[in-house]
Amino acid sequence: MKMPKKHLASTLCAALLGLTTGLTASAAGDAGPTTGRVELPPEIQAMPVVNAELTSPPYVPPAITRDHAARVIVNLEVTEVEGRMADGTTYTFWTYGSTVPGSFIRIREGDVVEFHLNNHPSSKLPHNIDLHAVTGAGGGAASSFTAPGHSSQFTFKALNPGLFVYHCATAPVPMHVSNGMYGLILVEPIGGLPPVDREYYVMQGDFYTQNNYGAPGLQTFDMAKSIDERPTYIVFNGSVGSLVGDNALTAEVGETVRLYFGVGGPNITSSFHVIGEIFDTIYPEAALANPQQNVQTTMVPAGGATVVDFKVDVPGTFILVDHSLSRAFNKGALGMLKVTGESDRVIYSGKEIDSVYLGAQSEAGTTAHKRENELQAKIAAEIKNNPTIANLTKEVQIERGKQVYMQLCFACHMPDGKGLPKVFPGLADSDYLLADNDRAIRVVVKGLTGPIKVNGENFNSAMPAQSQLSDEDVANVVTYILNEWGNDGGSVTVDDVRRVKSESN
């Protein structure tokens, strides 16, 4: 075998870096001692070559009709993109194929897969892929470790049929997975699965953001919540409402539906259930040789999957949930299957049973929620434009701010706002304070260290950032100090606080 290019380059680098030759194979980023293109035996080279058709969730590529193995080429692109997490909330997802979960891959037992992982040039990070369908160390992880703007190739043979999770396995792995880097690959058994009328692709994942569920704007990953396994969101297909309303799955009465359901995690196991349906056939843990009948709820581990088949006998909206219900009700783990057609009142007489689980995420809820938000916005605008109410609001802020002040600030700035000479500047009638409301906010949220001059007196000390205060607390306490002790400095709002907080420095 001639020396592969890649190996040469890495040897060169290693030599230049003064590394021992024992390290060069590893420096090339490949598993084990061998790198470079695999030399396939003639009978495999003779197999037909097909390009895998990939689909975005909730869709699944068509069933495989060929009755022989093939060489399948898979091209998967890694991207880091801002997308919708919930209405008004966005998140920078790391993806396979720009969707969460990533593209669905469908191959057949015995196929030899040539896998290409392409990391988009705009990516900040290296990524890789560990496919649970791969038999081999790392599941492809080491072989597919790819810097931004590069691409990697490796080959594997699909030895075992099943529905397998794939995911990114680059450190820190929980962050890569919780940013959306997972998907499913189906290895059809020889002879295929029993035919059904409709197939869909759904995956559950947990997300960790620094702000609470539903907080507006671009959200930031929260490492502490991730390590403590306290997700902010637990959702199907990457966002709240991804399978609701116009995006709901659909079927017609009398059809059989198959769901390929997986859990990306990184941490939370699912109690997967479809409200108002019983799984006629289920392949527990996606072991395709061992189906069971008539199951209500099935446990799907993080990094695991299941296949469920059921016939829809009556029309209505059937709700997909994680039956650990706080997740469905409070964190987003909810989807819909809308079945249309003739009702059969002997099987079921009417009145849907799912409303109790829907909350604000049902279609009716969504409409009502929107309407309520509009009305709330109108009320807020009215209040803003009404001077009497605005003054009353300010008075409420002052009262609340006083409580914050008397718990926290008084220790240094003194209850009478006069501070301590030479040590802590006073706030009463302070030219420094009253000159700039934004600066006042900034001092509270970011702290202030170093020399300042207040009413002609020099101070040089340090005030820590009061990061334990909520935005509302900050607005209230600043409004309080701007209006107490004879000060007449107007008022600041929660929006002002957020604006100041979002400044880059």
Binding site: C13, T20, S26, F145, A169, T220
Partner: protein, 268 residues
């Protein structure tokens, strides 16, 4: 304050400066303008084997207070034609070298003169540093510089710093990287370590090792799945893991849209 992070007055002397000049082989170019002195201390590697010490000593050094900019780099390629985009050998820089520039000697709108340079390889970054009589910082030096907080010598619990780091990951890559001139300096007065670009280090390709090779288990494999945390002491420093992962994904002729560098030099 832990002793190793105490930042006393610079201890180099005239004699030291002469020794420095001699060790650089008489290279008299360059000075320490735009650099800051970092006193001798220790670095705790993220990955260690059972035989390795928990901390390794880091002699004092100078480091640039800001990343090298497009403008700086333009001066370099003007003076060194062999490092221009059209001239460089693919052995030293792959095809995306300086691809955000408008031309060989033209920055263009995607590369403002005062923004950090990106799309440079380890070889080209090292050539730049040598041209100035400097060198690339080691991992230990870079991490030691980045380990301080905004307001104190230990950044481990600096929530504002970690907030800024994670905010960078939470925002999509910008087509034009902003200048780090206005970045908030850390306790050492160094700007732009986080939130703008990644940075090359001299020994990037040793990221996953600390000297001992573990049989046939590939070094990179230690990164993957939970194996990534075997041997790692600070498993909850995700930002450090990401830097390690990036470094070990690179080859020395790679360029990426968010990878630049700054220079260092010996102090004494």
């Amino acid at each position: 304050m832990s002793p190793q992070f105490r930042l006393g007055a610079p201890r180099w002397s005239l004699l030291g400066a002469i020794v420095l000049a001699l060790t650089l082989g008489g290279v008299a170019r360059g000075n320490t303008a735009g650099m800051t002195f970092v006193s001798a201390g220790v670095y705790a590697p993220l990955f260690t084997g059972p035989e390795d010490p928990d901390e390794i000593p880091v002699p004092s050094f100078f480091i640039d207070t800001q990343p090298v900019t497009n403008g700086d780099y333009l001066t370099f390629v003007q003076a060194n034609p062999q490092w221009r985009r059209s001239q460089v050998s693919p052995i030293f820089a792959d095809e995306s070298y300086l691809k955000h520039w408008a031309g060989d000697l033209e920055l263009g709108r995607l590369a403002p003169a005062d923004s950090p340079i990106v799309h440079v390889s380890w070889f080209t970054a090292r050539a730049y540093a040598r041209w100035l009589g400097k060198r690339l910082p080691t991992t230990a030096e870079w991490e030691r510089t980045a380990a301080v907080g905004y307001d104190g010598p230990d950044g481990k619990n600096d929530v504002e710093l970690s907030g800024d780091i994670y905010r960078w990951f939470a925002s999509p890559t910008l087509a034009v990287i902003p200048t780090a001139n206005n970045a908030r300096p850390n306790y050492l007065g160094v700007k732009g370590l986080f939130g703008y670009i990644w940075e090359w280090v001299a020994d990037f390709s040793t990221s996953m090792v600390t000297g001992e090779s573990r049989g046939d288990s590939g070094l990179d494999r230690d990164l993957f799945c939970s194996a990534g945390s075997v041997g790692a002491k600070e498993t909850n420093d995700y930002a450090a893991f990401m830097r390690m992962a990036l470094r070990s994904s690179l080859k020395a002729n790679n360029n990426t849209s968010s990878l630049g560098f700054r220079c260092a030099r010996d102090a004494d």
